[in-house]
């Protein structure tokens, strides 16, 4: 799967609700994650997306139009 720059932007945006709701999800099981865990999760997620993007990016010319 090729990832366009626009696709990257949307993927990053989607990571934010996931990161926020992660605490809610864990709290269902009685685990209270601190707020920093959201930040850490988000950072790891961004790293992952960045790596995926650099591996799969479309050639530069394709993102011009």
């Amino acid at each position: 799967m090729k990832m366009s720059r626009a696709g990257l932007l949307v993927a990053v945006a989607f990571g934010i609700p996931v990161a926020i709701e992660l605490r809610v999800l864990f709290s269902f099981f009685g685990v209270e994650l601190p707020l920093v865990s959201v930040v850490v999760f988000e950072a790891l997620f961004l790293l992952l997306v960045a790596v995926l993007y650099s591996l799969n990016a479309e050639p530069k010319s394709a993102s011009k139009h």
Partner: protein
């Protein structure tokens, strides 16, 4: 014959006029939203907390009523003209309703904003629900009445266009977009009866002082008679775009025309007899009627679930046409670079989330948990504030070039704008929902009570405040980006084909849908019967209890010079 403006220049001017009013309101309303978000969280306060209600009324009226409905009027005009492929019957009628609605909206806005200027003895801080006995300056109600009559004329304009078309095409199916416009307007005529009666017969005479008293429960019930269906009046333009434009932007075709018609008919039938679900906590309405309203409301989930299915199916079809494969990875083949597509898709995702919190609101028993808390604005900023507002902004990136013949100034800025909206709304609405669960009230400038701490199930109140303030700021930035982009587009050179405006045929077309779906008289009759069943007894009970005109004197919000008298009145009302 290039695009809409070349084929129908006069109609394009009408649409542009409504969009100008719409976007102007969006800008002012968003500024007020920012002020509220920063004020009630304590980050930035430059207004007196008393003026908060002026701002909040302006925000609610300008965004929920003016921005959305003016956009609707423009979109519906475009949809009728381009789907019937003929100009409007009489352009003077069109300008008449543009003039009337604009004047009405201006009156209401002036009455509200005058509240910020102490030297003018006029104010309308009654919030967009204008519950009696809070009394606004008469100009507010008069403006409101003109606005509503204007929308009726607009509907008449579209029905006349349809009649002319029908005379020449006696045996054809109603084109899908026109069908959507007509069913929506039939619902609107039925629904606005409530607010029209309330405004013309009770609130206007009372605010002028011709009658002394009002029956607050009656006017409130009449408000919600209109107040629930109005949410579908906001939503149907978004649905129209999701059904007829989004599949095309995705690179495919609408999955099913008959299903789309079924959905619009269901909304016509079920939108109005449910308004009492906003009054679960009102004394004076028997529990049984509230239960009926709840049941009808749950049925309303059906057309929304049908829509989710059809729209996602159409998008998947589009993605596969573009070479998408797999169970999930087809998502990557969607045209994310196109702000019109991305904005509408993100709006749809947020609508799903709003639907879930809406089910909580709709349940008679769990409603008590969140009633009048911040949860409620959290919910409707996902629905009208995003599903509708973001779809309208995103749709503009595709629609406005057809009206001006000029290309959009910048697609990357457009893309950034819709993504910033998404992120801002995630932060703001998540915080509002969570704050509401902790019991933080809505509609107050001072939610931080003394000697009282809200107990959060998770996280802290400070975090909630930050979420609202940061989210609100991002949303405001997003609106600025949108308006600047549209404004700069006006200075582009006109070109032949500013945007690909063709709309492909549905996969399963109109010929497959039962003819009875187009029988608008039948559906209207059933809708009327359902409304009579749902409302006759509750209204009779309310009038029987306190009389048509009630016995409550009213609390004018504009007699600032005479605050003492107002206080006296207030104690009298409470007693």
């Amino acid at each position: 014959m290039a695009t809409f403006v070349d084929r129908y220049p006069e109609e394009a001017s009408v649409v542009k006029a409504t969009l100008v009013v719409s976007f102007l309101s969006l800008g002012i309303g968003a500024l007020f939203g920012l002020v509220q978000a920063l004020h009630r969280t304590g980050y930035l306060r430059f207004l007196d907390s008393v003026d908060y209600y002026t701002i909040l009324t302006g925000h609610g009226v300008l965004l929920a009523l003016v921005f959305t409905i003016f956009f609707l009027m423009g979109l519906f005009t475009w949809a009728v003209v381009q789907s019937l492929e003929r100009p409007l019957p009489d352009i003077r009628l069109s300008w008449a309703w543009v003039g009337l609605t604009t004047t009405g909206a201006t009156f209401a806005a002036v009455a509200i904003l005058a509240g910020l200027i102490p030297s003018i003895d006029m104010s309308a801080d009654v919030l967009y629900t204008f519950y009696a006995p809070l009394m606004a300056h008469p100009l507010f109600y008069v403006g409101l009445a003109m606005f509503i009559v204007g929308t009726w004329l607009a509907g008449a304009d579209w029905f006349l266009a349809y009649r002319e078309w029908r005379a020449e095409n006696p045996d054809e199916r109603i084109p899908l977009q026109t069908f959507m416009v007509l069913t929506t307007m039939l619902m609107w005529y039925l629904a606005t009866l409530g607010v029209a009666v309330s405004t013309v017969f009770f609130l206007i005479p009372w605010s002028f002082g011709w009658v002394e008293t009002v029956n607050p429960l009656l006017t409130r019930t009449l408000f919600w008679f209109f107040g629930h269906p109005v949410v579908y009046f906001w939503l149907m333009p978004a649905y129209l775009m999701w059904y007829t434009v989004l599949p095309k932007l995705a690179g495919g075709r609408l999955f099913s025309d008959p299903l789309a018609r079924v959905v619009f008919v269901l909304f016509l039938l079920l939108s109005t007899p449910v308004g009492i679900h906003h009054q679960y906590l009102d004394p004076g309405i028997a529990e049984g009627f509230k239960f009926i309203a709840m049941t009808n409301t749950m049925f309303l989930l059906l057309p929304s679930l049908l829509t989710a299915f059809t729209v996602v199916a159409s998008m998947e079809h589009g993605a596969r046409q573009r070479g998408g494969e797999g169970y999930v990875s087809w998502l990557g083949s969607l045209p994310w670079r196109d702000p019109a597509f991305t904005g509408m898709a993100l709006a749809g995702v947020m609508f799903a989330a709003g639907g879930f919190s809406g089910m909580i609101n709709a349940g008679m028993n769990i409603n008590y948990l969140i009633h009048n808390t911040l949860w409620v604005p959290g919910h409707f900023h996902l629905t009208v504030g995003t599903a509708v507002a973001l779809t309208m902004m995103a749709g503009s990136y595709w629609l406005v070039p057809q009206l001006t013949g000029k290309r959009l100034y910048s697609r990357p800025i457009g893309l950034l704008q819709v993504v910033v909206w998404f992120v801002g709304m995630v932060l703001m609405s998540n915080a509002m929902h969570r704050g509401g669960l902790a019991g933080i009230p809505r509609r107050t400038a001072e939610p931080q009570y003394q000697n009282f701490d809200f107990s959060m199930a998770l996280g802290t109140v400070g975090e909630i405040r930050a979420g609202i303030a940061i989210g609100g700021t991002l949303l405001f930035v997003s609106v600025v980006l949108f308006l600047v982009n549209i404004l700069l587009s006006a200075f582009e050179e006109p070109i032949e084909n500013p945007v690909d405006d063709s709309l492909p045929e549905p996969l399963s077309g109109a010929s497959g849908s039962p003819v009875v779906l187009d029988n608008l008289r039948l559906w209207t009759a059933i809708a009327v019967v359902l409304v009579i069943l749902a409302y006759t007894l509750p209204l009779a009970g309310i009038v029987g209890d306190a009389g048509l005109l009630g016995d409550v004197p009213g609390v004018p919000v504009w007699v600032s010079a005479n605050a003492e008298a107002t206080l006296d009145l207030l104690t009298e009302v409470i007693a």
